[in-house]
Amino acid sequence: MHVGTGFPVGHLDFIAAAATGGETVKERNETFAQRERRHKRNVSLIYGAILLLGLVSAALMDRTILAQNLVTQRASVQRSLNFVKFRIEQRLEAYSHMSSNLAAALSFEAPTDKAKFQTLARLLRDNNPSVINLARARNFVVTDVHPIEANQAVLGHDYRKNPGQMHTVQKALDSDGTVVIGPIDLIQGGLGLLLRTAQPGPEKIVDTIVLDFHVFLEEAGMTSNSNAFVASARLKSATDADGQVVFGSDTVWDADPAVATVRLGDRDIEIAMIPARGWRSDPLHRPILGLITVILISVAFFGVNYARRLIIERADAKRRLLNAIESIDDGFVIFDKDDRLVMCNEKYRKVFEASRDFIVPGVSFETIIREGIKQGQYPEAEGREEEWIAERLRLHADPHGQTEMLMPDGSWIKVAESKTEDGSTVGIRTDITELKTAVQTAENAIRAKTDFVNNMSHELRTPLSVVLGYVAFLKKVEIYPQCASLKAAIGNREDLQQQLDEFVNVIVQQASKSEKSGKHLLNLINSVLDWAKLSSDNVVLKREPVDLGELLDGLSDEFKSHAAEKGILFDVEVDPVMIQADGLRLKQVFMNIIGNAIKFTDQGYVKVSVDVDDNDVTILVEDSGKGIPDNQLNSIFERFIQVDSSTRREHRGTGLGLAIAKNLVEMHGGGISVTSRLGEGSLFRVVLPRSRSVSVSLDMKMAS
């Protein structure tokens, strides 16, 4: 059965469900350099775009500001121009008044009073720089002129000869006020503005004030050469064509000036104004604009760089993590909180080779193991599938589940699973085949050793049975029927009887020695067997209530005769005390310790006493023997150590006795220790724990 996901199984090195969409680590590595290059190119493009955008924005803003400046400048120029226009009109008004006033003043004088005219005219001319000259005409003939010197030729001029002049003079006579004429070309050159006012009265007297048009305009604020503004004026023609420039330069008119029209008499004059330095917007904003632009671009660069670094770091961290997971030599897997596969490394899929096709993102854990069972992935599940699945799921749900699992190829996998904070399950699959094999080998070796020792012991005891069996009879050689018949044959022959007796003695003596050695050999074999069992943890204590007092009393009977033979005092002072122990093994322990004490004590005493407190029973075995050197106190409980091992073998033993005793005492939860003075004696101290149950049984025993 195959789950048709279309997942590129054979090609896939790494599974990562939603995050990477099945992208593999290998593919990433292959394209890493390219990606880096593309990334750099993109970043350069972004930087370029930011720079371009910044500069374009700055330029646009610059232009807008400049345009705004221009508008402002034009408005300012226009205001100035309007003011100039206002001043022109004002001045014209003022001069008109002056003209009227002059006419009024002269009308009080006799028309022939030339001196008076000159006086008033001078007064006017001196106080008004724009006044070029003044004239008075009576009946259309110029009678007076000021200043006289420069205008002598005008005296006696008849306006009637000049229709243009006549027209204006008549117009002045017809009107009450002042007639403004101009600007016109003056005879003496330049442009002038004529103000003609008829004097009140019956006579046709017309006063004319000639203003220098140029000065007039300058008075009004026009200037052709200023730091701020340059102005120009021209006549407005009836047609659209440009009129004659009467003030300032032509160039003003070509420079898109601010324009206003002012009416002088019956003529329109256009006045224009431009800034002295032309229409130019001062780029005062540019340093600030530039600074702002630079700052904004820098901020944008920094932001992009920061974002880029963040992205790179995230990508690096993710890649590092994924690479690390992929590089682990163990299978690694994550299931989400709904127990669906999120990701695993290739090793994981190698471990579960048979289930490989089902180990794809999104598949639930249970599906994976159920399909795995169908593929023979789990040999241990065979025949008990549902039970196995239930066990496996229970373990999977355990926050710290661990087990060992046999794979179809005979390898062993350690399964360790933990829950993460968000409820996902993270698992590690470790190949522990080597470890398993090693443990198995070690266990086999130990078992083999124990078996060997057991067998050897058996093999040694069988021939020893024969040796000791025959020797036992040889010791009692008289029981042989042959011996009896030999005796009968000898009858009363004393010499032969004696020889036979001597022969029998020799046999018995040597048989005894053989038996002794044989029994020692048997002891050795028993000890070695015992030690082998203890060291391979093959000994199980049979704990039962034991009366330690009774046990030690029984032992003392066995040793009494031996002690008496050696002529030493053997004293056992023990009250009944119940402990929970293996009686046979404890007997073995004290046989050894007391036996040693008697063995190594040649004179004096061996005392056995018991101390009881709430928790422990302490058995003291004290002797006045030869003692143990300090440097050997610690080693006497080790295997094959005898205090006199380096000297002649005075006392024969296996060297295992105390080591076995220590082992057995420790198995009882107790301890054994020794203090000694060389030449004065030793004190062995065995501490055994009392348990509560023991004291109960003690009470029961005492009650009975």
Binding site: N454, R461, V466, V467, G469, F473, N526, L529
Partner: protein, 133 residues
């Protein structure tokens, strides 16, 4: 000590057979029938009526416990006491043998001089089986 009690002894070791025969006949005064294998003993089962079977445990072909099972199948020997002899000096092993229905288990090497007395003691206290070292 006893009145001509009959003992059937089975062991594959000739020397053990000899020593045991000496022990039981010369010292114990038993009447001893010996077989060198379990098979031989089985063949002769119908012809013997011992007061005690003394069986070696480790024998080639059929071992002691198997022989015990066969003996028990024989109507005449359902309750005949059986004592094992073994060189396997393991209290747990001895216990196993006693649990199989043996009266006791004697560990080799045994003291041939004391063996008859031991067996008499066992027979006398049949009601209380125990393990002897």
């Amino acid at each position: 000590m006893n009145n001509c009690k009959q003992i059937v002894h089975v062991d594959d070791d000739e020397d053990i057979l000899a020593i045991t025969r000496m022990s039981l006949e010369l010292i114990g005064g038993f009447e001893v029938t010996q077989y060198g294998s379990a098979k031989e003993a089985l063949e002769n089962l119908p012809r013997v009526e011992p007061d005690l079977f003394l069986l070696d445990v480790m024998m080639p072909g059929m071992d002691g416990p198997e022989l015990l099972a066969e003996i028990r199948k024989h109507p005449g020997h359902r309750s005949t006491p059986v004592v094992f002899m073994t060189a396997k000096a393991d209290p747990a092993f001895s216990e196993t043998l006693v649990n199989l229905g043996a009266l006791a288990c004697i560990t080799k090497p045994f003291d041939p001089v004391a063996l008859p007395e031991q067996l008499v003691g066992l027979l006398d206290e049949r009601h209380r089986p125990s393990t002897l070292q």
